[in-house]
Amino acid sequence: MSGYLLSLAIWIPILAGLIVLATGSDRNAPLARMLSLAGAVLGLLVTIPLWTGFDYATSAMQFVELKPWIPRFNINYHLGVDGISMLFVILNAFITVVVVLAGWQVIEQKVAQYNAGFLIMSGLMNGIFTSLDGMLFYVFFEASLIPLYLIIGIWGGPNRVYAAFKFFLYTLAGSLLFLIAQLYLFINSGGSFAILDWHQLPIPMGAQIWIFLAFLVAFAVKVPMWPVHTWLPDAHVEAPTGGSIVLAAIALKLGAYGFLRFSLPITPDASHQLAGLVIALSLIAVVYIGFVALVQTDMKKLVAYSSVAHMGFVTLGFFMFNAMGVEGALVQMISHGFVSGAMFFCIGVMYDRVHSRQIADYGGVVDKMPKFAAFFMLFAMANAGLPATSGFVGEFMVILGAVKYNFWVAFFAASTMVVGAAYTLWMYKRVIFGKISNHHVEEMEDINSREFLILALLAAGTLYMGVHPLPFSEVMHASVNELLRHVAVTKIQ
């Protein structure tokens, strides 16, 4: 059983999705919902042994599965997790449960298809986090986009085609370059698609630079990094609440994960050479995007821009090449999963009642929804990086790691202390505080028990990780240390 845990984590949600899809029309919507929840919970349960059975001492891949897939090209069904990827599998499974619950009473049309989309996407994304074969990774990487397109396209807002097209355009360039880089590695490694083989492959500097840049384009779009970030606000605005949650909580992590699995270990010399570029782009994301977030009038766009700024911390942490930076970035990624997911859910809760995302359409919500306002306050503060919430831990580690790296990098990164608090709290003030601004707000009802459960789950994660982050960081130590040791050694021969 434990030998197939990763396969189960991938295929249970996909299978559940197909079963849900089979329930067909909306007459069977209650059944579709129950099956989806069962599938999502089962999917979460099978990931828990990954943590309980995890060996903290080794940096080697664990729960490895290896079967030939296309033997002719030496493409294998090769899975495994280490301290870098394991937590994301669990986070992904957890968020899937949240998303199914989040759509429970909200999605009334094409219920089976909606839920199936999320379940299949969840399985595919687990595939990305666990693939140790380059081609398998690529297939999952591309395939996971399809459900997201569908979700935005079918259940999305009025401008969904433009958003989907923009996303497509961005992704296309990245994907092609990524594929070419993989081909190069395949040929030069003597016909291997094993990512771990590529880690050991000596590559001359010139080629490393090109491969690094190809990876950079592919991953930067997904993160997204400045200046290829403009698809994200549009995609978020058009996506339904569940789509935004998955997009922010999991999909944005794929690109960042790619940096750690591909860029750093495969092209360490180029990574060092071009670290300044990535750090500059990251700092632009933190500072520039922070100010852009400040002036947004649409709540979803604001939180989308805030996501870009927070992901800037992630890429910044990676390319400082110290343990505090890398682990801080990984912690930030998990925290951002909870916090941004929760922020988008909170906006969804209000949208369901008032059908507007405009800040100007709200005001005085706390009077009508005190329980909701309390939760939203917690997540807003976590978004602003308040200690005792998960949002603090990663920022704290990256900023402290940055002071050691370079004072001015830390200086610009730390500006998020002010700017991040400004855009989050200014939004909160205008939406939640004040007098009841209009009759739509007057008619708002406080959260029901389903919404309460979702918010409580996310709040528990946010607070636990803030008060006691040790278990999360301990998982990473061995793998991160090995990665840093590996990256410090040149591959040029």
């Binding site: 296309i70 002719r72 090209f73 297939v139 395939a143 399809i146 397109y149 569908l150 396209g153 079918i154 969904r160 989907a164 923009k166 355009l169 961005y170 200046p227 403009t230 520039y288 100010f291 852009v292 400040l294 002036v295 110290n322 343990a323 505090m324 682990e327 801080g328 005001g363 706390v366 009077d367 308040l386 200690p387 005792a388 603090f392 704290f396 580690m397 900023i399 402290l400 940055a402 002071v403 050691k404 830390a410 730390a414 500006s415 202390m417 002010v418 400004a422 709290l425 200014w426 003030k429 205008r430 505080f433 004040g434 007098k435 006691h468 982050p469 040790l470 960081s473 301990e474 130590h477």
Partner: protein, 687 residues
């Protein structure tokens, strides 16, 4: 009980109270909320007293509670450091908090947010205790931000008032500017010392005295100077030093009990506490100490001036708090850390007393806060009157009162200091004595003496003093005339003020006692005994102020008697006399001065234009910058040129494949899958 469990009990008891009152605030009756929180704080107070006794007996503690995080070679722990400094702060925090909790029963009795309020102030007590009990920078930062959060929640407690929710956001953001420096300072500590544990850092600090860092160009900066100034920027935010002081006057939008607890007695002194705690670091940098003393001196004097022209009773006390925080900072800069802590303690008692007294007046006046509408209240509110008089006498430094011993020690310490800037600071704190006495007794006379001006047809809302925070300009929702159930009443014509209930007056009396005696009792042992030995480090050779002070000290009584022949006493006396003459005898003179020096009044009334500048430059600038980057960068360049440009370039492809575009998202997705399969097939076939 084992001492370590007792240490844990101190912060956790208020936390449990806060959780009970907070999570169940909508279900539990009021008595449960206040009983639970008061019990929690009372337990913390009693435990603090036991710990204080234990510390006096020579038992200190420094150890972890649990490991928070590890990364690379770094360890971060949650832990306690219990020594004389911590114990002093614990007593101050828990005792004032306890008084404020009791007082709140009376002050908030009509408020619908009663339970929520108790939850917040207990949560604050927990956070503040975590801050002062910490044995490392990480937990210090946790407490630092947590008290900021609670302050934010409490300033905006009346969340329907536009001024309140503007003030709380402003407070949080200005504090974050300070924290920005603070976290960079902590970053330097970690980068060079490899740990955030106080003890290790302080022990190794002298090794880094000569270390330099290169920040810009070729200039080499002393590591200690840079680190200490960055840490002090944090203190400037929390302890409201110029130019990060702007949030504190606005914080008066919060209910009065928290003005007493958070914005006078405890939270705002966190910066003072922090610098005193870091004395082994600050002692290594004269530049940083000079910076500290100059900032403190500016705050002490210039914020005092603003107190003179305020008409809102709480704002007078708020500016007096700013000025007194300046005094404490000056003491820090003069390396008289113990004196700063001593003044912190006496100030906590008498300033909490003054605020709670002001709150009692506000209750009596039915939430009219304008001192121009008061007068003669001593007849109707005798306990409030006497205790406020005690508080005012303590504040201006009347010999034998608590404030005298601490403030006079500061002035003397600055006189003996040789830090660059101490001359300016000495002049500022001396002049400040006169100013303090003048505005304190201006308020005292206008409130408690003279003609009874209440109950007359004044401005209808009794809120004329609140004319100075129209800063919410970018909102367009500015509305100062709002009448909510618990505010902005004022007495009806013919109505008389009345003394407040016992839950309000009891804390006044309980705080009046230490406001009188704690200086007399404390000065000998605290400043000139071994109390802070091993806790506060002073390099006596380089910074001799404290040692010289000790030579001149011959007992508390002698100090008070001697003071009668010194300048500070007569300056204070002159301030009181002048305010009596101006506001009791010849009220036409201040009016004439105001008319004669219109420009000066305008400058003071606009608070030296700090708010207007911040509003226009920082807030307005940030919004302009954001809009520019968004419209110019994202929309015009990235989307306009790059994205849509590429889109046009592939336009011809689109024209070819147009017939595939059926408008259904299904077919797009289907096409993509086919593409993927084709790609794979192509691969399989080719090789």
């Amino acid at each position: 009980m084992e001492m370590k469990s007792l240490y844990l009990l101190v912060p956790l008891a208020p936390l449990v109270g806060a959780i009970i009152a907070g999570l169940f605030c909508r279900i539990i009756p009021r008595w449960v909320a206040h009983t639970a929180t008061i019990a929690g704080v009372a337990i913390a107070f009693v435990a603090s007293c036991i710990i204080f006794k234990d510390v006096l007996a020579g038992n200190t503690f420094n150890g972890p509670v649990y490991q928070w995080l590890t990364s690379g070679d770094y360890k971060f722990e949650v832990g306690f450091l219990i020594d004389a400094l911590t114990a002093t702060m614990m007593i101050v925090v828990t005792s004032v908090s306890l008084m404020v909790h009791v007082y709140t029963i009376g002050y908030m009795q009509e408020d619908p947010g009663y339970n929520r309020f108790f939850s917040y102030i207990s949560l604050f007590t927990f956070s503040m205790l975590m801050l002062v009990m910490s044995n490392n920078f990480m937990q210090l930062f946790f407490g630092w931000e947590a008290v900021g959060l609670v302050s934010y929640l409490l300033i905006g407690f009346w969340y329907t008032r536009p001024t309140a929710i503007f003030a709380n956001m402003k407070a949080f953001l200005v504090n974050r500017v300070g924290d920005f420096g603070f976290i960079l300072g902590i970053g330097f500590i970690l980068a060079y010392f490899g740990t955030l544990d106080y003890k290790t850092v302080f022990e190794h600090a002298p090794e880094f005295a000569k270390t330099t860092v290169n920040l810009w160009g070729a200039a080499e900066w002393s590591l200690m100077t840079v680190t200490c100034i960055l840490l002090f920027i944090g203190a400037m935010g929390k302890s409201a030093q110029v130019p990060l002081h702007v949030w504190l006057p606005d914080s008066m939008e919060g209910p009065t009990p928290i003005s007493a607890l958070i914005h006078a007695a405890t939270m705002v002194t966190a910066g003072i506490f922090m610098v005193a705690r870091m004395s082994p670091l600050f002692e290594l940098s004269d530049t940083a100490l000079s910076f500290v003393i100059v900032i403190g001196a500016i705050t002490a004097l210039f914020m005092g001036f603003l107190g003179i022209i305020q008409n809102d009773i709480k704002r007078v006390v708020a500016y007096s708090t700013l000025s007194q925080l300046g005094y404490m900072t000056v003491a820090l800069g003069a390396s008289a850390y113990g004196v700063a802590i001593f003044h912190l303690m006496t100030h906590a008692f008498f300033k909490a007393l003054l605020f709670l007294g002001a709150g009692s007046v506000i209750i009596g006046m039915h939430h009219d806060q304008d001192i121009r509408n008061m007068g003669g209240l001593r007849k109707y509110m005798p306990i409030t009157w006497i205790t406020s008089l005690v508080g005012s006498l303590a504040l201006i430094g009347t010999p034998f009162f608590a404030g005298f011993y601490s403030k006079d020690s500061i002035i003397e310490a600055v006189k003996f200091s040789n830090i660059p800037g101490s001359g300016f600071a000495y002049a500022a704190v001396l002049a400040g004595v006169f100013v303090t006495a003048f505005y304190s007794f201006r308020m005292y006379f206008l409130v408690f003496h003279g003609e009874e001006r209440f109950g007359k047809a004044h401005d209808g809302h009794g809120h004329g003093a609140h004319d100075d925070h129209g800063a919410d300009a970018h909102e367009g929702d500015h509305d100062d005339e709002e009448v909510s159930p618990d505010h902005h009443h004022g007495l009806a014509p013919g109505q008389k003020p009345h003394e407040s209930p016992w839950v309000v007056t009891l804390p006044l009396v309980m705080l009046a006692i230490p406001s009188v005696i704690v200086g007399f009792i404390g000065i000998g042992p605290m400043l000139f005994g071994d109390y802070f030995k091993g806790v506060i480090a002073v390099n006596a050779e380089a910074h001799p102020a404290m040692a010289t002070l000790a030579e001149h000290f011959h007992g508390a009584t002698a100090m008070a008697v001697h003071a009668l022949s010194t300048a500070p006493f007569w300056l204070a006396f002159a301030g009181v006399a002048l305010s009596w003459f101006f506001y009791m005898k010849r009220p036409d003179i201040p009016a004439a001065i105001k008319a004669r020096f219109e420009w000066l009044y305008t400058v003071l009334d606009n608070k030296y234009y700090f708010d207007k500048f911040n509003e226009a430059f920082f807030a307005g600038g940030a919004r302009k910058l954001g809009t520019g980057l968004w419209k110019g960068g994202d929309v015009a360049v990235i989307d306009g040129v790059m994205v849509n440009g590429s889109a046009k370039m592939v336009g011809w492809i689109a024209s070819i494949v147009r017939f595939f575009q059926t408008g259904h998202i299904y077919s797009y997705a289907f096409t993509m899958i086919i593409g993927l399969v084709m790609l794979l097939t192509f691969w399989v076939v080719r090789a």
